[in-house]
């Protein structure tokens, strides 16, 4: 019949190859990441009318009722929150550009600044900032080159939690989960945090138990120190029952006795206590930390560089560090508030009532809110960098930590 111009199969393969080549080119020249690093965009000069909505990324328990609704009532900004379990998740979420702000720990905040995902914060627009504890201001994790990038939220230490019925005697040291012999007693019932930053916990342990390594800062580890920490965690691995990153999942596993001892946050501890489960953690007279100290966090509210509701975000930042709100969230989650005025006993009592817990006027003392020397034993999460700070640049960087984590979990 009709003479065909080209063999259809050949045409098909050619077009296939062409399209794939097109995709390859596109991938190569596609929207590339910002070249400028550290170049700060403008901070807001004036807080205008609220936009009616606010999208936040936060740790579990940071954005909840009653203060979330109070904020909506006061400012008209309706909050929707996306809870995340690790700092990397938070950075990922912020990079989608679909959120206005984030409660960033130190190992997220610096990444966000480096990646230009957050704008500097004009602290003059946040009146309550003035009365924040001074040892939280202008810290390396929230201030870069003298420029403020966020408003401190609160701080705390990672907890050692155990089932008080089955774990005896009550541990006073991290060795119950990190010493290979002791950890074997609870084989398959240990719950460890599923993130590479957990390597720092091993480093904190080794700082006390292996002084020969000379570990000073658990986030600045040279090859030898790093290998020791990684090996410790590899030895822990056979005894670990779960690596958790979802707080609610960990609550469930402790509640069902699938985990009996592990590292956790106060949020889970109080939730389990509220359910009447037999859990215990390092006592208040030890500052809630085992004898080696602990890793912890000091969180900062940061505003996205592509925030769609910047006015609401500024209103939130001022609100969350207002005495009443800060006292509420601190007692709800179980951390030291950033706002010094939140520690007034009337404020604490009123806040306790609002969230439905027993009043505890000694809360701030218990949590060492105004005691900078205590926090020397708590090593806030921060991004590991190659620059060891003492002239050496052979410390293991973030990428090395990330890769080692896959190795540790086997």
């Amino acid at each position: 019949m009709r003479k065909s111009e080209a063999h259809p199969a050949r045409v098909a393969w050619l077009s296939l190859a062409g399209i794939v080549a097109f995709m390859v080119l596109l991938a190569g020249c596609g929207s590339s990441s910002d070249e400028t690093t550290g170049a700060s965009s403008e901070a807001l000069q004036k807080v205008g009318k609220g936009e009616g909505k606010l999208d936040l990324v936060a740790w579990p328990g940071y954005v909840a009722d009653p203060w979330m609704s109070d904020f909506a009532e006061q400012t008209g900004c309706k909050v929707s929150v996306k809870e995340a379990g690790t700092s990397s998740e938070m950075v990922s979420l912020m990079r989608t550009g679909q959120y206005d702000g984030v409660s960033a720990s130190g190992n997220a905040s610096l990444q966000l600044v480096e990646g230009n995902d957050v704008d500097p914060v004009n602290v003059d627009l946040v009146p309550k900032y003035k009365t924040i504890f001074s040892d939280l201001k202008n810290q390396p994790y929230n201030t870069v080159d003298g420029v403020n990038y966020g408003i401190p939220h609160g701080r705390g230490a990672n907890l050692l939690m155990w089932n008080s019925k089955d774990v005896k005697p009550a541990p006073s040291s991290w060795d119950v989960i990190l010493d290979p012999k002791k950890a074997a007693k609870y084989k398959g019932k240990i719950s460890a945090y599923d993130d590479y930053i957990y390597i720092a916990d091993a480093a904190v342990y080794l700082k006390t138990h292996n002084k020969g390594l000379g570990i000073e800062n658990p986030y600045e580890l040279n090859q030898e120190q790093f290998d020791a920490a990684v090996n410790l965690l590899k030895e822990q691995k056979p005894n670990v029952g779960e690596y958790w990153s979802s707080a609610t999942k960990q609550i469930s596993s402790f509640a069902n006795n699938d985990s009996k001892v592990g590292t956790t946050w106060q949020y889970q501890y109080f939730a389990l206590k509220g359910e009447g489960k037999p859990v215990a953690s390092s006592p208040a007279n030890q500052g809630f930390v085992p004898k080696e100290g602990a890793t912890g966090w000091s969180d900062t509210w940061m505003i996205s560089s592509s925030a769609k509701h910047p006015n609401c975000m500024y209103k939130w930042m001022d609100f969350i560090v207002s005495p009443q709100a800060n006292a509420e969230v601190a007692q709800y989650f179980g951390e030291a508030p950033a706002q010094s005025k939140a520690c007034a006993s009337q404020t604490l009592t009123a806040a306790a009532k609002a969230i439905g817990v027993d009043p505890n006027p000694g809360f701030c003392t218990q949590y060492h809110a105004a005691d900078p020397s205590f926090w020397k034993r708590v090593y806030y999460w921060i991004t590991p960098v190659a620059d060891c700070g003492n002239g050496d640049t052979d410390c293991k960087d973030n990428n090395a930590w990330i890769q080692a984590w896959t190795d540790i979990k086997g």
Binding site: R2, P8, L16, E114, N256, N257, Q403, T406
Partner: protein, 299 residues
């Protein structure tokens, strides 16, 4: 064509008519137009994105900001080959996938045979519905049900306790159990379809020639049904190979391919992409073998 034209009114032919005439008698044009949409979608949208995945495997992340750096580098593949954990994870996953496939084939055959050859038509209809129903309950819920059952206070331990035994708890055994459970219907249905195709006369002939049921099974049924088994195995294998949700719920201390990829997405997307090429390679090989064995006729 000419006859139809002669019968049509002398008035102008509609645009649709002219278009139809364009296609008539030109099978290549018809095929080309028909395939343009679907193939365009699949090639540009899907194969193109697989190509992007492959390219992303050669990117890296900046150590300070965690942002993706598009300069091409083979660092990820170097890591995959030099660090033994990736090989171990891949091996572990492939082994479990094979175990699940074998288990499902063994579990599926009896019920498929019963449905195809023995059940009365009404029973068969009911059985088909019975096998299909679980597919409509959410995969997530089924995994969650197993997590609940295998928990230390769950049903499995409760049932085995009087016997002095205890359940497998969480771990690799649990993953094998759960995955075998989840994908069983995908194995039953192709085998059922394949067995249905075997004419009864063939089985009677075998019997007439003196073969016992075992021999008939081995030398008549199995060879004919084998391609169907392979077809079902494509899904049991592939679905197990990439699963990360079931392992994270019933084996939260073990990494499988899916977990490593998923966990690395927020921290090191290029490495995750690089490791994701492993299941692609495995499945492409599997599919090619399956095609050879005639499985594609039984999908």
């Amino acid at each position: 064509m000419e006859a139809a034209d002669a019968l049509a009114p002398a008035a102008k032919r509609s645009a649709g008519r002219r278009l139809a005439d364009l296609f008539h008698g030109r099978p290549r044009l018809q095929v080309g137009t028909l395939l343009a949409g679907p193939l365009g979608w699949l090639v540009i949208g899907y194969i193109g994105s697989l190509a992007v995945l492959l390219i992303a495997a050669f990117w890296s992340v900046d150590s300070l900001s965690g942002e993706v750096n598009r300069a091409l580098t083979s660092a990820n593949f170097d890591t995959l080959t030099s660090d033994s954990v990736y090989r171990e994870v891949a091996q572990r996953t492939i082994l479990i996938a094979a175990a699940v496939t074998l288990t499902d084939a063994l579990l599926a055959f009896p019920i498929a045979f019963f449905m195809a050859k023995i059940a009365k038509p009404r029973t068969r209809g009911l059985l088909v519905v019975a096998v299909l129903m679980p597919l409509w309950s959410f995969y997530v819920v089924k995994v969650y049900a197993w997590q609940t059952m295998l928990s230390s206070g769950g049903i499995v331990n409760w049932a085995l306790d009087p016997l002095g035994l205890s359940g497998p708890g969480y771990g690799t055994t649990a993953v094998w159990l759960v995955e075998s459970y989840l994908w069983l219907p995908y194995m039953i249905l192709p085998i059922y379809a394949g067995l249905e195709r075997i004419p009864d006369s063939l089985l009677s002939a075998s019997e007439d020639l003196g073969a016992g049921p075992g021999t008939t099974f081995r030398r008549v049924i199995l060879p004919i049904a084998f391609p169907a088994v392979v077809a079902g195995s494509i899904f049991t294998f592939s679905l197990t190979l990439g699963d990360f949700i079931a392992p994270s719920l019933v084996s939260p201390d073990t990494q499988f391919i899916g977990n490593v990829v998923y966990d690395n997405i927020t921290t090191n997307l290029p490495l995750a992409s690089a490791f994701a090429t492993v299941p692609i390679a495995v499945m492409v090989v599997y599919l090619m073998i399956a095609r050879r064995l005639g499985a594609f006729e039984h999908l």
